[in-house]
């Protein structure tokens, strides 16, 4: 356990310079990879959120919860990498309340070996991604830093796109965000990523962290046997007493309020008219507004 932590930190040489080699921990079975982790968030089902007409606030109470979509892609990619590297223990970590168990079952059915729920001393709404990533990093260090970590690029509800890269930073390891494709080897993974203006392929030695989107792969659907077997897989509940960062999460951003976005659109709806007539009416207005033909 301790060795993995040391390994993650050993690269910060005394002069702050780059060290080029990482010695991998030999695993009992001879393979280099012993641990793979994914991080998953239990989120409100955004499509079901209604707006309170009085306060103009979204009503989150009572809305169903589910696994954030991209985390199923994270699970799928982790399973593929697990096959490619020749097997490893695959653990799902979540920072949440014990009811996250419902979401985790789906990931256990897909093929995770174990789930860990990390519950802080404060309400979840007070955590930002600094807190979440710090807690995840501390838990992973305590268990032994996984050689491969897969996260979603963005969660479905708050979409801050930070937990993945922050976790990598907290562990002192590399990260490749928005993976299009991964190719796992025993000691490294090749990841092509969408950089926004082209595709970059990165060769990342373990340990490394990868974030995925819904486009990265197609998550497998567990069969009934796997779903039943998942109920017997261990889900570890770890409370605030297990980590200082769960007891006193470091928080950088505090939510003040959330309101529904107003729509101040004209809302002129034309129907039951011939296409040409609707078109002419709209185009006349657009022309008046200087939006077409004004050059």
């Amino acid at each position: 356990m301790r060795a993995a932590w040391l390994r993650a930190h050993a690269r910060e040489g005394p002069d702050g310079g780059a060290l080029n080699t990482v010695t991998l921990l030999p695993a009992a079975g001879g393979g280099a990879v012993t641990r793979i982790a994914i991080c998953a968030k239990h989120v409100v089902d955004v499509a079901r959120v209604k707006i309170d007409k009085e306060t103009n606030e979204p009503i989150l109470k009572g809305v169903g919860k589910k696994v954030s979509v991209a985390d199923k892609n994270a699970m799928e990619e982790a399973l593929r990498l697990k096959d490619a590297v020749g097997g490893a223990q695959l653990v799902v970590y979540t920072v949440g309340t014990p009811d996250a168990k419902d979401s985790l079952k789906e990931l256990l059915a897909m093929g995770a070996d174990k789930a860990v729920i990390l519950t802080p001393s404060v309400p979840l709404s007070q955590l930002d991604s600094l807190a979440t990533a710090t807690i995840l990093a501390d838990a992973m260090r305590a268990d032994g830093v996984p050689q491969i970590i897969v996260c979603g690029d963005a969660s479905e509800d708050d979409t801050s796109s930070q937990v993945g890269p922050r976790l990598a930073e907290a562990l002192g390891i590399s990260n490749v965000s928005i993976a299009l494709k991964t190719t796992g080897h025993t000691d490294r993974v090749e990841v092509s990523r969408d950089s926004g203006n082209g595709t970059i392929t990165i060769d990342a030695r373990f340990p490394t962290l990868i974030t995925v989107t819904e486009e990265t792969n197609k998550p497998r659907l567990p069969n009934i046997m796997q779903i039943m077997a998942a109920t017997k897989k261990p889900v570890e509940l770890r409370g605030p007493e297990t980590l200082p960062s769960l007891q006193h999460p470091p928080v950088g951003l505090v939510p003040v309020r959330v309101v529904a976005l107003p729509s101040d659109r004209k809302g002129i709806i034309l129907k039951d008219l011939p296409a040409a007539e609707m078109a002419q009416r709209v185009v006349a207005d657009l022309k008046k507004a200087g939006l077409i033909g004004g050059d």
Binding site: A47, P58, A275, L291
Partner: protein, 319 residues
């Protein structure tokens, strides 16, 4: 006291410099730095940045062929080390979000993603950003400074005329963390810059086949715009490249005029085009969500309405 901007894109960098200048008094900040980080050939002309609002441009050359988050993080952190940093602004791009998150973690501070408004007063900072798939706006406060924020294009207006003068070159030792770039493939041909388009015609699943995109091409040509699309057309059907994809997980656009053609208007799509000037939607379903976010809703078959629009626009221009 210092505010800093890091941007890979010069245009965006100028917008953020204007933002940093506007926020400086409220943050009791002084100097505005531009962190000109990147490989040789990819860094920007300091003169342009100095007149856009930077008091000082810090040049950091990285021995890389493309963006890689570990080295960029080291460079940003090194460039602001030792100064009393109040705020770091970074474009809300794929690379920008990545580097902002790592820098914020290293500094042990908060980071607001896709920030659409920033308000500074008495040394504290409040921000707005879209959440819940783009249907709601969250206001958040930074518990302490420095603050890190990624900001979409168009939030600040670039300004010229600033008389910054200082230039500095910094050597930074970076740590690749055992990851290396082994391949670079530039964006596939057929890429568009929807962010800069004055008019966008967004195609949705209301189109029955790829060839029917011609309808949208014709409309775009008539209004001098670019064609974009919803996620399924790019991600699933691959009719158009990813650079056309508009929405929460695609591009944010804010053209003067936006046409939604056979687009249902799910919140994740609306998140990417909500700030458009005027919105015209064509859909055969009068109850589609797009119609509650539109200026003009034309209910009917797009195969009739789009050609009719093209004809009406052509006629209007001729007059």
């Amino acid at each position: 006291m210092v505010l800093a901007v890091f941007a890979e894109e010069e245009k965006w960098g100028k917008e953020l410099l204007a933002g940093a200048r506007a926020l400086a008094p409220g943050l009791k900040g002084g100097k505005v730095l531009f962190l000109n980080i990147g490989p040789d050939g990819a860094r920007k002309d300091p003169a342009a940045l100095l007149s856009a609002g930077a008091d000082e441009v810090i040049d950091v050359a990285l021995p890389l062929k493309a963006f890689k988050v570990e080295e960029y993080t080291d460079a940003v952190v090194a460039a602001v080390a030792g100064c009393d940093l109040k705020l770091l602004l970074v474009p809300a791009t794929k690379n920008g979000r990545d580097v902002a998150a790592r820098v914020a973690q290293r500094l042990q501070v908060g980071c607001s993603t896709d920030t659409v408004a920033l308000r500074a007063s008495h040394g504290s900072l409040e921000v707005d950003r879209a959440v819940l798939g783009g249907s709601a706006l969250a206001t958040l406060r930074f518990a302490k400074l420095p603050a890190v924020a990624t900001v979409p294009s168009g939030v600040f207006e670039p300004k010229g005329g600033h008389q910054g003068t200082a230039k500095r070159t910094m050597e930074v030792t970076t740590d690749a963390r055992n990851a290396a770039i082994i391949g670079i493939a530039p964006q596939a041909a057929g890429g568009v810059r929807l962010e800069d388009a004055k008019v966008v015609v967004a195609a949705g699943r209301g189109l029955k086949k790829k060839e029917d995109l011609k309808l949208c091409d014709a409309l775009a040509a008539a209004v001098g715009g670019e064609v974009g699309c919803t996620r399924p057309l790019s991600a699933d059907l691959k009719w158009l490249s990813e650079s056309h994809w508009i929405g929460l997980s695609g591009k944010r656009v804010r053209p003067k005029l936006y046409f939604a053609v056979g687009v249902s208007g799910q919140i994740q799509h609306v998140a990417g085009m909500r700030d458009s000037g005027t919105i015209v939607a064509i859909n055969k379903d009068p109850d589609c969500p797009m119609f509650s976010n539109t200026d003009y809703g034309l209910v009917g078959d797009l195969y009739e309405i789009v050609p009719a629009l093209v004809a009406a626009i052509t006629a209007a221009k001729g007059r």
